[in-house]
Symmetry: C2
Subunit: 631 residues, 2 copies
């Protein structure tokens, strides 16, 4: 099979690609996100690229997903074909999701006034109109009793056990009912019970929800259009709880130290979310009242802290949280700065260390109820793994630390515009090519960039298998720094700022993180009497970048050495799961099912786990026979 | 049948009573409330009185309800046998009501810790404990799955569709669950869905609810012990909304005049209730958090105004309110100063002018589903009437004005300690005997006192049938006053304050009120092709006193002239209905059924109504043939 060289502009990234591969897969391999809402089926028409074949002038516009590689080419990717920042990969996972009974929706109704309805209360007319609206009657001329029966039937079909009017909605309704005309009703799903949370004249426009991924290190909030069912924009910030501790354990410890600590942590999380909301709503001229639903995912500790629930049980034998599954809450009770009565769906978790972010991720990744033996890994400050096949799922968690989210590293940052998410090193020319999210000036390196950097420097011999920088490496990029060595990844002069470097402490942080994940995966598989080679699919999730080179993830020993077509990088599946929960009732029900179904496995109780961890503190591993393709 | 004279001390009231009647009925006829929680069955032992037969020294202690009259007697009523003030008659109606799934209750549980429960979350252990507690298992040693099934079963038996933990309760639970020991759980019924609204150590004591009768003129709040199922104390105050208008129409008009009017009226009602709560809770050292449920009754306008819902529809064709039936609300949403998450049950109403106070009254009075043709009349600022037999109920409403609540009369007051609730006039001796609620120094006259006064003066010839005072009446009690005449009911020198008088304007107010009720009753009956004489039971309800002399109610033409044994005065049935709704789920369900079942009849649409009203503006009526026993 012949390979060709594809250069992507304006990045200037060149990759080798097999003949017959698509331009879309080559772009992904080059670390460039192309819009592919239809999943590469050639339907959505979003991945348009401009191809200039070698030696020819001019270019041809083609769909990246439908164009096979037949020779070397230079491909220009227009801005409109790029994944927007932040929600990039989530859009891939949520773009194809159709709406089905979203968590809240705006329903346009006209109150019936004919015949006996004239003598009914505004409240009853509204509820009937709502039900009839769903039945798509063109006009309302039936008798009252018949209509009541139909209304009950219609509501039942919607699977609401009942629909009630919130007091605030009732207050708004009374004067509007007299004025007549069509109304816009905000109808929310509280665990199968419908609630009318708002009533407005029909001139009110837009129905919005927010998906919140409350990570230990990074918080991502997406604004969704609940009519179109798509993410309009997203915004990420560092969790302001970070100042109280980098990981969940240190934050739990902090809550036990002083009386007001729990409230401080709660306020910090709420502040972070509120900042994100402001960044999302202000540019669109939306107010908090316009957001009528929220779906929230996070690990068990984050959910306890956000809701002000004492998390002490999580780190104390028998390691049981206060709650795993919550009823749908009202936003004002949670403290979220959206419509006060908006439903807040919190994805249910499995255990103290496998939370709702993982059930949401498994859902979005399609990792459950699969015919293929599947490993799902979510790489965040905690690393969680799920092995699933058919109707069983087993999960566990390890503490990876925040290195892959860029935290605690000299030049680390989270996945945001300007974060370097891909490196390619040409040792011969001593040139380092990189890609930043959004093509912006580099502000730091995010997780996927670090994985590339480690793999490229290991291949070039600039670092050894223990992660030490080779002082003899023939490049000025290697230099001493504070009694250690560091490698200059990007010269400051090229970007108009300080040099961007990788130091030995950073490398050790990253190695510990990947070792925790890899040893967790192998311990879990071993306990199930499985070998890594039996895995038919490995789904890597995480908010640490917008793309990942599978070769490099294997090269540093993060993932087992499997045929590359079995390895898939999915991006932030927790966020994608939150989006799904906003859009579909079956997703919300599936999450409850998943949380009950997943069997929790405690890594710390397995004697061999620590040995496996220590053996993994090499690049890729002590035992090279496990990584034949790397050596 | 011989009659005897019974004198009650310390009041000094003397009544004539038939031989064979009980002392209890004689006391009631004398306007003295005896405690009779068992309904006069001789069971509760509360109506102990001291009887001194004529000519004998010393006395004998007997039960008033079990002692027949065999001769003249002087009866002393000890303080402990008297109905306490305020909730007097309500206690009669609620005293015999057993608890059955109260609106909220305190449940003592111990979280299971055995076996696999050890690894369950605090939330799940609490919910299971709650369910198992009801099943009265002595210990918890079953397997987890079996227990889960049992828990589900137990909850179903309790007829809760589900039980969820409020976020605030969850916050309290987490640390308590770790400490161990028994917990006290506040479990509330939100329309069939259970909600845990609070969790506390078991040392917390007492479970309280409040019943609120939100009248146009008078607000009555009762504090109920939700374990014993009884009223601990009650307190009445004038509705502070009074300053915005005496009746519902003028208050609705006021809400349409200015933007902030609706909020003013809402605040006034809430302030009144809060004052009552303070008077009830402070002496017992209770805090607002100790009150975990509220049942609220009021006419349709009062409920709209309390909840901040625009009432304009009530007085505008087609006279339809914004809402008739509400879901159970949370206290903090209503603004009630009790436990913020306490359920607030609002009795559902029938129409704009027949509200939840009437459905509650019909329920407490047992006026529905009766074999006897029954007329139920609730005499408040509005007068509402219900005619019922078997499974039909027809209701209507008239505007009586607040006269019977003492409002707008020179010496009027509502039923409270010191209000004169009974008069007896000896024309020969020119002496007026009276009784005050609680035996306190007179502060004014309440409705039942005015009924007595009108009837006694009419009999004596001091006033004529048009309500004019006879200036020739041979008593210094008749005197001129501001170009009219007035009658001195109580000389100021006897009570150490100003004279208490009845003026001609007061009399006209009272006559208009009774005329509205009587003409309403006869119009409603006529529309059903019924004659007053066909009524087998007449139940008069209202908060205008603690007892009523049926003879006098007929004498002034308030009630139709029927054999007296068919006439019953029940006191404040709206309040009693609220108490029942607090104590029993079947009462709450019955109220919903009643509200749907009652057929509303619009008096104002009947051409003859105004004529009937005018004919009723006499004492007892223009047509004396309707009142043969009076003439």
């Amino acid at each position: 099979m012949s390979t060709h060289t594809i250069t992507f502009l304006p990045e200037g990234v060149t990759v080798a690609a097999a003949a017959g591969d698509t331009l879309l897969s080559a772009a992904t391999a080059a670390g460039i996100g192309l819009r592919a809402a239809c999943g590469g089926k050639g339907v959505c028409g979003k991945c348009v690229v401009r191809v200039a074949s070698s030696g020819s002038a001019g270019y041809e516009e083609v769909l990246g997903c439908q164009t096979p590689i037949t020779g070397d080419a230079v491909v220009t990717i227009p801005e409109e074909s790029r994944l927007a920042d932040g929600h990039a990969l989530a859009e891939d996972l949520t773009g194809g999701v159709a709406l089905e009974a979203p968590l809240a929706e705006g329903v346009s109704v006209e109150l019936p006034t004919e015949g006996e309805w004239y003598r009914e209360t505004a409240a009853e007319r509204l509820l009937a109109a709502l039900a009839l609206q769903r039945e798509r009657f063109s006009e309302v001329t039936l008798e009252l009793t018949a209509l009541r029966a139909l209304a009950a039937l219609a509501l039942q079909r919607e699977r609401f056990s009942e629909v009630t009017l919130e007091l605030t909605a009732l207050r708004a309704l009374a004067p509007l009912a007299r004025e007549g005309g069509r109304l816009r009703v905000a109808l929310a799903d509280f665990d199968g019970a419908g609630r009318v949370i708002g009533v407005a004249p029909e001139t009110a426009t837009g129905t919005y929800g927010v998906a919140v991924d409350l990570g230990t290190t990074t918080v991502v909030v997406g604004l969704m259009d609940l009519v179109a069912g798509k993410v309009l924009a997203s915004h990420a910030e560092l969790n302001a709880q970070g100042r109280y501790g980098a990981d969940v354990i240190s934050r739990i410890v902090y809550t036990q130290e002083r009386e007001e600590a729990r409230e401080e942590l709660r306020a910090a999380a709420l502040d972070t979310i509120e900042n994100c909301l402001f960044e999302l709503l202000a540019p669109l001229g939306l107010s908090r009242e316009d957001v009528i639903a929220a779906a929230l995912v996070g690990n068990t500790t984050m959910i306890h802290l956000l809701l002000g629930i004492d998390p002490a049980g999580i780190r104390r034998d028998p390691y049981v949280p206060a709650v795993r599954s919550l009823p749908t809450l009202a936003a004002e009770d949670v403290g979220l700065a959206i419509h006060p009565r908006a439903p807040v769906f919190v994805a249910p978790g499995v255990s103290s260390y496998v939370g709702g972010d993982i059930t949401a991720g498994v859902l979005a990744a399609g990792a459950a109820a699969t015919a293929e033996l599947t490993l799902f890994v979510d790489l965040g400050t905690n690393g969680e793994m799920v092995v699933a096949k058919g109707d069983w799922l087993v999960c566990c968690s390890c503490s990876a630390g925040p290195a892959f989210e860029g935290s605690g590293l000299d030049h680390g940052t989270y996945a945001r515009p300007g974060a370097i998410d891909a490196f390619r090193y040409d040792a011969e020319a001593d040139t380092m090519t990189f890609h930043t999210i959004g093509g912006a000036t580099p502000v730091g390196i995010c997780g996927s960039g670090y994985i590339d950097a480690l793999a490229e420097l290991l291949r070039a011999g600039a670092i050894d298998r223990r992660g030490r920088i080779n002082p003899e490496f023939p490049s000025p990029r290697v230099r001493a720094h504070e009694e250690r060595y560091e490698f200059v990844l990007v010269w400051g002069r090229e970007i108009g700022r300080d040099d961007i470097t990788l130091g030995e402490d950073d490398i050790q942080n990253l190695i510990r993180a990947k070792a925790a994940v890899y040893s967790g995966v192998t311990t879990l598989l071993d306990s199930l009497d499985l070998q890594p080679s039996q895995l038919e699919r490995v789904l890597l999730a995480g908010g640490f970048g917008h793309s990942l080179h599978p070769d490099n993830a294997v090269a540093i020993g993060l993932l087992p050495d499997l045929p590359r077509e079995r390895l898939h990088f999915l991006g932030n599946t927790a966020f994608a799961g939150a989006c799904r929960a906003l859009l579909r009732r079956d997703a919300r029900l599936d999450l409850q099912w998943l949380a009950r179904r997943m069997t929790n496995f405690e890594l710390s109780t397995v004697p061999g786990y620590m040995d496996r961890y220590v053996s993994s503190l090499f690049l890729p591993h002590t035992d090279l026979s496990l990584f034949p393709s790397v050596t």
